[in-house]
């Protein structure tokens, strides 16, 4: 299946759940999804025959303080069909909460803990949401753009 076909298929199948689907200049399919439809769509993406994204390769977040949003980014890969896609969803920066996909892809367990730790995104339904990199009593979220700490000075980009 070419990327254009995959894009058409995803647009058709999830037309109520997705906001945009674009092919980037780097030939990657990037789909932005509504946060409330995220979990349901993740289950379909994994289980449906023609999609079969069994492998959650990477889950991370990007902070955009100017737009007041944190974007959650999932990179999916299908061993069966050999196609790749990027799933994105925007969360408000001051109240970043979303349903966990840990029950869909087990690999999300630690990846979500990392995003929780470094970005302060809360994953509802995660069985073990604790800090993973920073000490347990740490209060801040280091990968947020407005992070500052004694001894670490962030220069504007």
């Amino acid at each position: 299946m070419t990327l254009d076909e995959l894009k058409a298929k995803i647009e058709e199948r999830f037309k109520d759940s997705i906001l945009t689907a674009v092919l980037s200049a780097q030939k990657e399919l990037i789909v932005t999804v509504k946060p409330e439809a995220y979990h349901e769509m993740a289950v379909s993406l994994r289980d449906e025959e023609g999609l079969a994204f069994q492998h959650l390769s990477c889950l991370t977040a990007v902070d955009y303080p100017k737009e007041n949003k944190i974007t959650l980014v999932d990179h999916l890969w299908s061993y069966r069909h050999g196609h790749q896609m990027t799933l994105k969803l925007d969360l408000p920066r001051d109240n970043a909460r979303v349903r966990s996909v840990e029950d869909v892809w087990k690999s999300a367990n630690w990846l979500e803990r990392e995003v929780f730790d470094l970005y302060g995104v809360t994953f509802e339904g995660h069985p073990d949401l604790r800090r993973i990199m920073m000490p347990e009593d740490y209060k801040k979220h280091p990968l947020r753009k407005d992070f500052s700490d004694d001894g670490f000075i962030v220069k504007p980009n």
């Binding site: 980037s24 200049a25 780097q26 990657e28 990037i30 069994q54 492998h55 959650l56 390769s57 990477c58 991370t60 990007v62 902070d63 980014v73 990179h75 061993y79 050999g82 790749q84 990027t86 892809w105 087990k106 690999s107 367990n109 630690w110 990846l111 800090r131 993973i132 990199m133 920073m134 000490p135 280091p142 990968l143 992070f147 962030v154 220069k155 980009n157």
Partner: protein, 381 residues
């Protein structure tokens, strides 16, 4: 009294002595955890009830540092993401930047990169073989592995002057061309090394103690492995074809002949088998690369300051020595990345450790952890 107690235990009856579970801390400083990984293990006698890895002891926030450095500066930090396989990470980052900015890399540079990455794979697997066997009580393979690894490191030193953190593969090409004597020395090494593989196999592969410790231990089924995000030789040991070199060919992997090493049982021994087969495959790949090496430029023409397009993003993957290595970059129109994320194989490969060791003995944790080829700087970044 003792006789009575023994007879009660043998008969499986309750004794007057209670048994309690207890918790043991392995690490952060422990030889078997290869760095500063801490495992909190709940034990019943010697049987493992639960293993909880505790990460973060080596967290250096490389991703945050990269956000405050220009793209070429970041390459230096990628060496430290996985210092046993620094060339792979150098290349993974360079490839992501090149994709993001649309840089065309000269042919010679690509072949050189392939030679270096494959030599690095051999060096990394040799170190793994030594430490894995060492964990199981066989110390000789470590010395043998180090002996051959030394010759690879010498080749790297000859080329770029460094022995551990090379900073050799740069954006748009490589740092410097190889010396004329590199090719004969490399060929001589490959000829010498091919026979050494049989030597390692003679030491380990069908060694009865080694078989006892690894056969049937820590079995990853294909479904669990894929769902837990396990990649690389650890997943190929379960027979899942997941080699990025085959699935999404980069460099010139589609132009060389090699076979993807696959195991069957998914146990520690299969993972060992896959890595030993990969040694042979890497030797064959490097030979083909050396044959096709032709003179030419080694660096692309690039603007003096590299700027990524605003809003541009890329996720590019390679097969590093440990598995799938992904780099996610987001550009914002300046010379620094807005976001840099390293998806490291070790991070996901350690995750199923709890599942794999439940019900096994304490000593089997070392066998399973060793067979995953985990390296802590990659887990913590």
């Amino acid at each position: 009294m003792t006789d009575l107690l023994l007879s009660q235990i043998r008969a499986g009856q309750e004794t007057q002595f209670g048994t309690d579970e207890y918790v043991v801390n392995l690490g952060p400083q422990h030889p078997s955890t290869h760095g500063v990984l801490r495992l909190v293990v709940r034990l019943d006698g010697e049987t493992v009830k639960e293993t909880t890895p505790v990460l973060g002891y080596l967290h250096r926030s490389i991703e945050k540092i990269c956000e405050n450095r220009t793209y070429p500066q970041c390459i230096t930090y990628t060496d430290r993401v996985d210092y046993v396989s620094a060339m792979s990470v150098n290349y993974a980052f360079a490839q992501a930047v090149e994709k993001l900015m649309g840089i065309e890399v000269p042919v010679r540079a690509q072949w050189l990169r392939m030679i270096m990455v494959e030599l690095q794979r051999i060096a990394s697997h040799l170190l793994w073989m030594g430490s894995f066997a060492g964990d199981l009580g066989a110390l000789t393979p470590l010395l043998y592995g180090m002996r051959e690894r030394e010759r690879i490191i010498d080749l790297f030193e000859m080329t770029c002057g460094q022995r551990l953190t090379y900073n050799y593969i740069r954006i748009g090409g490589v740092m410097i061309d190889i010396l004329p004597e590199f090719v004969p020395k490399c060929r001589a090494f490959l000829d010498y090394f091919e026979d050494r593989i049989d030597e390692y196999e003679g030491l380990l592969t069908y060694n009865p103690i080694f078989l006892e410790r690894t056969k049937g231990v820590g079995v990853i089924t294909p479904e669990v492995g894929i769902n837990c995000g396990v990649t690389g030789p650890a997943l190929r040991g379960s027979g899942v074809s997941c080699d990025v070199r085959k699935k999404q060919p980069y460099l010139f992997y589609d132009q060389v002949k090699f076979e993807e090493a696959l195991g069957q049982d998914g146990d520690c021994w299969s993972r060992y088998r896959v890595r030993m087969d990969e040694l042979t495959q890497s030797v064959s790949i490097i030979r083909q690369c050396l044959d096709r090496l032709e003179p030419g430029p080694i660096e692309a023409k690039m603007p003096p300051v590299l700027k990524a397009p605003a809003g541009g993003e890329v996720y590019s993957r390679i097969e590093s020595s440990r598995g799938e290595m992904g780099v996610y970059l987001v550009g914002d129109g300046t010379a620094k990345p807005w976001k840099a994320k390293f998806r490291c194989a070790s991070f996901n490969n350690v995750y199923p450790l709890d599942q794999l060791t439940r019900g096994w003995k304490l000593a089997d944790i070392m066998a399973v952890l060793g067979s995953m080829d985990m390296i802590v700087p990659e887990v913590d970044r």
